[in-house]
């Protein structure tokens, strides 16, 4: 019978997940492998050329190769999304576990979290950025602000229900300390949910990054970022230069789709595994 540790399960990986992850990695590697300099790329000689032709995705109003820009965008958008997801996870999971205890601290913490989440977080992110300055890492902060509460709630909810299970009672009966129960017994049994949520978070983060870039937050021109490209190309749609905005848009769409598919398959494969 197949074993169920994370490592062994991944070895027997579902093809869709493998393809999805593979593609994403390939894109990131490609993005860095192909050298790109936005300044060098600009060439007033060839503004707004339509695809296909010499340039597969055409050129934008500054003469830059849209294809290479979309690829370069992956250099920033994807790693930022993954970083944002990682930070949310690292903060959210332990807090979620701690909040699942039956203690006054946990109660108060959750009430505090409710109040925190009452703020429209995107607005909060924008405010923070305007106060702290427009740095790239502010985007990661923004994503973390939005997603850490989600991880906290999810992990807490799983942990609460796990605390009722017999093996947790058994752990307490053999004298396990609270932290042992949390990290040896609760945490390993929440990894399924965490993985799925992580994938969904990554998907959503791409959109957040693109939105922020569209608003001019985080990405400074002439850096290539899909959101910024969409913004720059938005007017182009009305004048008929559709390719400048559409291709980065498709890139966002495809990434979100890939992350969602991975999340979906993970959920199915992992829950099937749990049922044995």
């Amino acid at each position: 019978m197949p074993s169920r540790t994370l490592l062994e399960r991944l070895r027997r990986v579902d093809p869709v997940i493998a393809i999805g992850v593979g593609l994403l990695l390939a894109v990131i590697i490609l993005a860095y492998a192909v050298p790109y300099s936005p300044v060098d790329d600009a060439n007033a000689q060839r503004p707004s050329l339509a695809p296909p032709g010499t340039f597969w995705f055409g050129t934008d109003n500054l003469g830059r190769d849209v294809f290479r820009r979309v690829l370069a965008g992956a250099r920033i958008d994807l790693p930022l999304a993954l970083a944002g997801m990682a930070v949310s996870l690292i903060l959210g999971v332990p807090l979620g576990l701690l909040a699942s205890q039956k203690s006054r601290w946990a109660e108060r913490f959750m009430r505090g979290l409710d109040m925190f989440q009452a703020f429209p977080l995107l607005v909060l992110a924008i405010v923070l950025v305007s106060l702290a300055g427009n740095h790239l890492w502010m985007i990661v902060v923004a994503i973390a602000l939005i997603n850490t509460p989600r991880f906290i709630r999810l992990v807490r909810s799983e942990a609460l229900s796990l605390r009722e299970s017999r093996f947790v009672e058994a752990a307490i009966a053999i004298g396990a300390t609270r932290s042992r129960v949390m990290f040896r017994h609760l945490l390993p049994n929440t990894t399924n949910t965490i993985l799925v949520q992580a994938s969904l978070t990554a998907a959503q983060s791409i959109v957040v990054i693109a939105s922020l870039a569209y608003l001019g937050i985080g990405i400074k021109p002439p850096m290539a970022s899909w959101g910024a490209m969409i913004r720059d190309g938005a007017q182009g749609i009305t004048t008929g230069d559709w390719w400048i905005a559409i291709f980065p848009g498709i890139a966002v769409f495809v990434c979100v789709l890939l992350f969602n598919q991975i999340a979906d398959r993970l959920e199915r494969v992992l829950s099937r595994g749990a049922r044995g």
Partner: protein, 302 residues
């Protein structure tokens, strides 16, 4: 408010098996947890090895858990599905004997696996790879690895197939002899309890209605509930005809207990005198005690 357990007292000597038998709502599972202070008592004391568990602080209580352990009813659910068998059995050693080296711990776990008739190859397996009987052996292994003095067994064979039950009961017997263990054995099955226990407490709605040496109580049941319980068991020998069954009605809810004797209303011999006041246990014969106004006291009288 649910009165799960109402004024229950009993003692267990080293090497002895005391059984608690009763149906749902009898409080037997609650007592199992209270005896280890896994639940908090509202009132009363639990003395283990001369120390009152209710007076200990959290750390002291935690350390005592190497000496008093529990085996649960559901073998699969009581094991962490993500943890290998070896680690599960090793965990109490890690918690209570931090001075033990990894090699020593490993050796002790293997030794314990052998004690429960599981081979070394089970060390690296996961719970779902094992059968119900094997899973319960792991549960037992975990409960004996720290060489405790007292084990609570909460319906340890109820979820197992008949052919496996016998194996596990035999194992528990052997371990008790080898390590001089005291057992609190909780069950609802007459046959099992009769086989394993030295003394038995019959419980109904949170109270002990009859207690005494097992052989004596089964040969000479005095409380109507005990009699009903015994007659409810069906022999697999068709030549042994089933007794006429005695109790009518449903088991009342623990939130709505009748005044006086809890069996009143279902009891074939009850009358108004029974509904009047709470009925305490009184001696019927030697250490055989009963909580029923219709049963004579030891030495005559009532």
């Amino acid at each position: 408010m649910v009165n799960a357990v109402n004024g229950v007292s009993f003692e267990i000597e080293a090497g002895e098996t005391v059984a608690l038998i009763g149906e749902s709502g009898s409080g037997k599972s609650t007592i199992a947890r209270l005896a280890l202070r896994l639940y908090e008592l509202n009132q009363g004391t639990v003395e283990f090895d001369g120390r009152d568990l209710t007076k200990l602080d959290r750390e002291e209580l935690r350390h005592l858990r190497s000496a008093m352990t529990i085996v649960f009813q559901e073998p699969y659910e009581s094991l962490n599905p993500r943890q290998r068998i070896g680690r599960t059995i090793e965990e109490p050693l890690v918690i209570h004997h931090p001075d033990m080296s990894a090699a020593d711990r490993h050796a002790r776990v293997i030794d314990t696996l052998n004690h429960v008739a599981l081979g070394e190859n089970f060390y690296d397996r996961f719970p779902h790879e094992l059968s119900g009987g094997q899973q319960q052996r792991v549960g037992i292994a975990r409960a004996i690895v720290t060489r405790p003095k007292f084990i609570v067994l909460d319906e340890p064979t109820s979820s197992l197939d008949l052919s496996v039950r016998a194996q596990i009961l035999q194992l528990l017997n052997d371990l008790q002899d080898e390590f001089n263990l005291a057992y609190l054995f909780i069950s609802h099955d007459i046959h099992t309890v009769e086989y394993v226990s030295d003394r038995i407490c019959v419980m109904y709605l949170g109270q002990i209605v009859e207690v005494g040496p097992t052989a004596e109580v089964f040969a000479n049941p005095q409380h109507p509930y005990t009699q009903a319980l015994l007659s409810s068991s069906l022999s697999a020998d068709p030549r042994v005809k089933k007794d006429r069954f005695l109790l009518g009605g449903e088991i009342p809810s623990a939130t709505n207990l009748p005044p006086g004797c809890f069996l009143h209303g279902r009891c074939p011999i009850g009358d108004d005198a029974c509904a009047a006041a709470h009925v305490p246990l009184h001696a019927f014969k030697g250490t055989h005690e009963v909580a029923c106004v219709k049963v004579p006291f030891a030495g005559g009288g009532s």
